[in-house]
């Protein structure tokens, strides 16, 4: 089943074409990697899909519903959630509080309910805390619940960010270099988490990653970009053999 349908997406900043007519689809339970040299437009693609950059032309659909002109928080509420290359955790908040922010839209109770301490708001809050603790348990992070997120190691921060991002069970996940700066062990763990999210929960995952061997191992399909445009698309095996990719990205064969 097609989750995300990206069609002819372009972004131009005063004459510069950062993203040039990129199209692809993302299926349920699939991991699609986006690779390309620095400046290829990978992050712009993510920003355009998640609403941080307004596309000049083209469309993005999730399950047939258009996302193209929505704001970042609306797109997230529709079910496309993302992580950030430089880490998007809130350092002064605890691990549990960070995960709870991922459940914001799932929490019931209006401003007035919260202000007056009405039971509807309190119950929903308690339910979410329970859920957040369960999620942390799945990642063996429950003993870290009350630790300030800023005091975690780099690898732990990446994991908490992913827990926070998937807490609301989004159908689509955009991961911007989730393994950058991680030790080999933590990297393998991260790839395992990504495979499990796609395989067991059926999440469609779009993944920017520089480590080619990881991409080849984890991705079902790969989109190769250069200078803002798509230059190849296919399975890891197909990409390995692709002439344009070898020349533009992997260097001369």
């Amino acid at each position: 089943m097609t989750l995300l349908d990206v069609n002819g997406l372009s972004v131009r900043f005063s004459g510069l074409t950062a993203l040039d007519d990129v199209s692809f689809t993302l299926m349920q339970g699939n991991v699609r990697a986006v690779i390309g040299p620095n400046g290829a437009g990978k992050s712009t693609l993510f920003n355009a899909i998640s609403g941080y950059v307004t596309p000049t032309s083209g469309t993005v659909f999730l399950n047939g519903a258009e996302l193209t002109q929505l704001s970042p928080h609306e797109i997230a509420e529709q079910g496309v959630r993302r992580t950030f290359q430089n880490g998007g955790l809130f350092p002064a908040l605890t691990v549990l509080e960070n995960v709870l922010t991922g459940l914001h839209a799932q929490t019931e109770g209006s401003f007035l309910d919260i202000l007056l301490g009405r039971s509807a708001a309190l119950k929903s809050e308690a339910d979410n805390i329970h859920r957040a603790r369960e999620l942390l348990k799945l990642m063996s992070m429950e003993h870290m619940a009350d630790t300030r997120a800023g005091d975690l190691s780099g690898g732990q921060q990446r994991i908490v960010e992913i827990v926070r991002t998937v807490a609301s069970d989004p159908p689509v996940l955009l991961l911007d270099e989730p393994a950058v700066g991680l030790s080999p062990v933590a990297r393998d763990q991260m790839m395992e988490i990504i495979r499990r999210l796609a395989g067991e929960k059926g999440v469609g995952i779009l993944l920017i990653e520089h480590a080619v061997e990881l991409v080849m191992a984890a991705a079902d399909r790969i989109l190769v970009m250069a200078a803002g445009a798509r230059i190849a698309e296919g399975t890891p095996d197909e990409i390995r053999e692709d002439r344009a990719v070898l020349e533009a990205y992997l260097g001369h064969a």
Partner: protein, 327 residues
């Protein structure tokens, strides 16, 4: 570092303490003379002013200095409604809060237009000065430099010049607003407020409407400080433009910092300490400002996170954030 969160037992104890303090304060008028009662009433006003300020500058992390403007708006709203339209003072308190919230709406409009950091500081300072200019120059409404006197009025058959009566009303309003603010901060809303401070871009990616969070925080802050303005109007009995200048802003900023940025408990401690301190320093004529400055500087050097951080280190009971687990 793991933060020690209060245990279930400590949370219950904290709830008891929260309600025990105002109940014990009901007895305070037995221990005061007219002068100290007046000072105590002023403390309650300052608690609310500091609380509203710390929300925007500490929890939301916006360098906004319109707090004294909200205070003035609330005070004048109360005085004008009471003096010109004959609205009972008690009723002017929520109305003054609504006008304060309107002020908060205007201040957030600047932040939401993308004016942040030092630029937000300057534009909100200008807002405060503009309001003060307005109080002096719209004399038909505000009474100009002569100000607006509060009308004579009785409540439960007692004149509203009675400081003991005022104390009970001020205490009730303060407890309600502090409790409401704590409820907000201990919810998804409070987490969203801090998330915006920490990383606004990442906050939006979690389906949190950041603009609305900023707007609502400023408006609630304005509401709290606007209500404080209405209390202040009755406290001093006569509203003058000079009460809402830079001096008031700096004094309340000092209360925020001494108590601890972004802390409700800190707002109470900062306001109480810095209102009481000048009274004790009267024993050293000519040296008051020097000692006052030294004490404020000393607290901030020794405890950059304010008095509340000291108490948090003593016991997790004073950790304000907590999770509402299932009972």
């Amino acid at each position: 570092m793991s933060q020690t969160m209060p245990s279930a037992r400590q949370r219950r104890l904290r709830t008891w303490i929260f309600w025990a303090v105002p109940v014990l304060l009901l007895l305070l008028p037995l221990a005061t003379n007219p002068y100290t009662q007046f000072i105590a009433n002023g403390m309650l006003v300052s608690v609310l002013v500091t609380l509203g300020f710390t929300l925007t500058i500490g929890n939301l992390g916006q360098l906004a200095f319109a707090n004294t403007a909200f205070f003035g708006i609330g005070a004048y709203a109360s005085a004008i409604l009471a003096a010109k339209l004959g609205v009972p003072w008690l009723l002017t308190i929520p109305l003054a809060g609504a006008f304060g919230a309107l002020g908060g709406f205007l201040a957030s409009a600047a932040a939401l237009r993308g004016i942040r950091s030092y630029y937000l500081a300057i534009i909100t300072l200008a807002f405060g000065e503009l309001m003060r200019w307005g109080y002096t120059h719209f004399s038909p409404l505000t009474g100009g430099t002569d100000g607006t006197p509060m009308p004579r009025e009785t409540l439960f058959g007692i004149s509203l010049t009675d400081d003991t009566l005022k104390f009970y009303v001020f205490l009730g309003v303060t407890v309600l607003l502090v409790k409401g603010t704590l409820n907000l901060l201990r919810s998804r809303f409070g987490r969203a407020v801090m998330a915006v401070r920490e990383n606004e871009i990442a906050t939006a990616s979690l389906a949190i409407p950041t603009s609305r969070v900023i707007l609502v925080t400023f408006m609630w802050s304005g509401f709290v400080v606007g209500c404080a303005g209405a209390l202040f109007a009755r406290h001093v009995g006569h509203v003058f433009p000079e009460s809402f200048g830079m001096l008031h802003l700096i004094a309340s900023f000092a209360m925020v910092l001494v108590g601890g940025l972004g802390s409700v408990l800190g707002s109470v401690l900062g306001a109480v300490l810095l209102t009481a301190l000048p009274e004790y320093l009267r024993a050293f004529p000519g040296m008051e400002e020097l000692f006052f400055g030294l004490i404020v500087a000393g607290v901030l050097v020794l405890m950059p996170m304010g008095l509340a951080s000291l108490l948090r280190r003593l016991s997790p009971i004073f950790v304000e954030r907590h999770y509402r687990e299932a009972p």
